[in-house]
């Protein structure tokens, strides 16, 4: 029972935060200097064209009225009209979101699937060569921006070694599966088109790895320290005393409590990943939502920009809620509430 209350509170708070965020970004977009309409139509368009557009976009009305129109539209899924792509922003979102979604999911899988085991290894074999190797790897990964990795990987693995393709989501000539989710990998699996699935995966490897490395380093680091902390705890010594074999202790009794810290930062890591995805998308020419967002920001496309920020906010909230559920699953104190029996 208490878990539902807990979740309910979290969702309510998140919705409040999202509203606040929408107001914030809206105000920032409208209040700061620069005339987006003029920039969109160019310096040579006549003034009446600019006026027309301004009226259509309600830019002549007071800010709070504009906000009202925007929220009303947003709740219906209509984010307005993009001055640059000349399409509804929602259409753009539908086109570009799945590509980044695929990349983000793959990246998160790499972060968790490689980061956590690395951390466990390093913690288990503390101060051995394995540990030192992992720590060096983590330091370097955490210190290098994704775009540096992306550039170096592109250079090394694509240009020099030709192991991976250079650009694009899928090679020319590979038939695309019918669109269900928009994510080629999932659509490929759904329709049984495995060629498309593997091909897209192959294209995703370099961008996903470059994007995943900083997150992987953080997760590995936290897992490592968590394992080290728990190794010294009395309950491990107590369990060992019963002759419980090491492999069972490592894989079950040490692992479960040690997973709590890394899982709790996974939400944050996913957020950071979404935030920096554009760096990699730009270099690999990945037709994704982040790249779209960056272009929107660079061109001061207000509607697109607000929509992008809001969508990222919603994704962040959902990711955090998932993480909270995962933690409740791992940590009984949160699941049952810290109530004492006796």
């Amino acid at each position: 029972m208490s878990m539902f209350v807990f979740l309910g509170k979290r969702i309510a708070l998140s919705i409040f935060a999202l509203f606040g965020l929408s107001l914030l970004i809206f105000l920032i977009a409208r209040v700061l200097p620069g005339d987006p309409v003029r920039m969109a139509v160019g310096p040579r368009a006549p003034e009446w064209v600019a006026e027309n557009i301004r009226e259509q976009m309600h830019l002549d009305k007071p800010v709070l009225v504009q906000y009202y129109y925007w929220v009303r539209g947003a709740l219906r899924g209509d984010f307005g009209y993009s001055l640059y792509s000349r399409r509804a922003v929602s259409t753009d979102l539908k086109n570009f979101l799945p590509a980044t979604g695929e990349l983000a999911i793959f990246t998160s899988l790499i972060i968790a699937g490689i980061g956590i085991p690395l951390g466990v290894l390093a913690g288990r074999y503390s101060n051995s060569w394995i540990d030192n190797l992992v720590r060096i790897f983590c330091y370097i990964s955490a210190s290098t921006p994704s775009f540096v990795f992306a550039t170096l990987f592109l250079l090394l693995f694509s240009y020099v070694l030709h192991w991976f393709p250079i650009v694009g989501r899928i090679s020319l000539g590979v038939p695309r599966p019918p669109v269900v989710t928009g994510m080629i990998t999932l659509d490929g699996l759904i329709s049984g088109n495995f060629t498309a699935f593997w091909n897209t995966l192959w294209h995703m490897v370099l961008p996903a790895v470059s994007l995943a490395l900083p997150g992987m380093a953080q997760v590995a680091r936290i897992t490592r320290s968590s394992i080290q902390d728990n190794l010294g705890k009395d309950y491990i010594a107590f369990e060992r005393g019963f002759g419980i074999p090491d492999r069972l202790i490592m894989s079950k009794f040490l692992l479960k409590p040690s997973l709590i810290p890394p899982v709790s930062i996974l939400g944050l890591e996913m957020a950071v990943t979404i935030g920096i995805a554009f760096l990699v998308e730009l270099i690999f020419n990945w037709p994704g939502f982040s790249r779209y967002g960056i272009n929107a920001m660079l061109q001061k496309d207000l509607n697109a920009m607000s929509a992008v920020v809001m969508v990222i906010g919603v994704i962040f909230v959902i990711a955090n809620i998932f993480v909270d559920v995962a933690i409740a699953f791992l940590d009984p104190k949160i699941r049952l509430g810290a109530g004492r029996r006796a």
Partner: protein
């Protein structure tokens, strides 16, 4: 055997020795310290230690352009004939400047809000302050900072402003946690009973307990700020040409991969080494102060 009262006098030097023992016990931390010292030195004395200080400004020499690394230009020259090594050295200045500005602007604000929210834990002040912080934390900070920088004219200063606007939230969270846990400690309660007003309690009682944590986070943040700053300038939102900037150099150079690889690769390594140095240093400090919250 030591005499008891002598130990009191020697405690401070003992603490320093103890701290240095913990710090130097980890070779990584010492390496970080050395790297940071070298970078700061290079940045400070850039005009004196680089071979071609003029190349850091508007300088064009197409005859020498696009040269691979050689004895004359250790890291090669870029599209305009400027020495890459020199430009990297000068670029350190701007990276450090950006990082320091962000920290100087965001730390006082973040710490202040965190202290207040923590001390007034449970009251309306706490609730409002933390709700505002939550709003800023609802979105990856880079996104918000990007949005703001894009709207303003891209420049080093504006990038610093935009990043500071989102950076303070991390300090608030951190200090809020510490302050609210100290809130109910006896020494605070007794100060209240003695009649101390809240400014005294907050700044003279709680704050000193947070200092080592804040300080450590600041050094870790130097690395992060340089990282994020380079991401911004990679997009062209940082220092504008002809000011040398590591992120911009990587962006410009990446168009010419793989032929003129040195234009992008060396600045990329420079970013990596700089951030690595600060991260190692920060981690060493964290081990030294034995802080768990970070």
């Amino acid at each position: 055997m030591r005499v008891y009262n002598l130990r009191w006098q020697q405690r401070r030097s003992e603490k320093i020795k103890q701290g240095w023992y913990k710090f130097s016990g980890n070779p990584f931390s010492v390496v970080g310290l050395c790297v940071v010292v070298v970078i700061i030195f290079t940045a400070a004395f850039a005009p004196y230690v680089t071979p071609y200080p003029k190349h850091a400004g508007p300088y064009v020499n197409f005859r020498d352009a696009r040269q691979p690394p050689s004895l004359k230009h250790l890291l090669g020259t870029d599209l305009f004939g400027r020495d890459v090594l020199t430009r990297i050295a000068f670029a350190f200045r701007y990276s450090l400047l950006l990082a320091v500005t962000i920290i100087v602007l965001s730390v006082p604000v973040g710490v202040g809000i965190g202290l207040l929210a923590g001390y007034f834990h449970g009251t309306w002040i706490d609730r409002i302050l933390m709700r505002i912080t939550d709003i800023f934390l609802a979105v990856p900070s880079l996104v918000l900072a990007l949005a703001v920088t894009c709207i303003l004219t891209p420049s080093l200063f504006n990038a610093a402003m935009a990043l500071s606007m989102v950076w303070w939230t991390w300090y608030t969270r951190l200090v809020y946690g510490i302050a609210s846990s100290y809130r109910n400690e006896f020494f605070i309660r007794s100060a209240e009973v003695l009649g101390e007003r809240w400014p005294h309690i907050v700044f003279r009682e709680i704050l000193p307990n947070c200092v080592s944590t804040i300080f450590t986070k600041m050094s870790l943040d130097m690395g992060m700020a340089i990282l994020v700053g380079s991401a911004l300038s990679f997009l062209g939102l940082g220092a504008q040409a002809p000011t040398p900037d590591l992120g911009t150099m990587v962006a410009d150079g990446s168009k010419y991969l793989p032929d003129l690889w040195w234009i992008a690769v060396f600045p990329a390594f420079a970013i990596m080494i700089t951030v690595l140095g600060f991260n190692l240093l920060g981690d060493g400090l964290r081990d030294m102060f034995a802080i768990e919250e970070l």
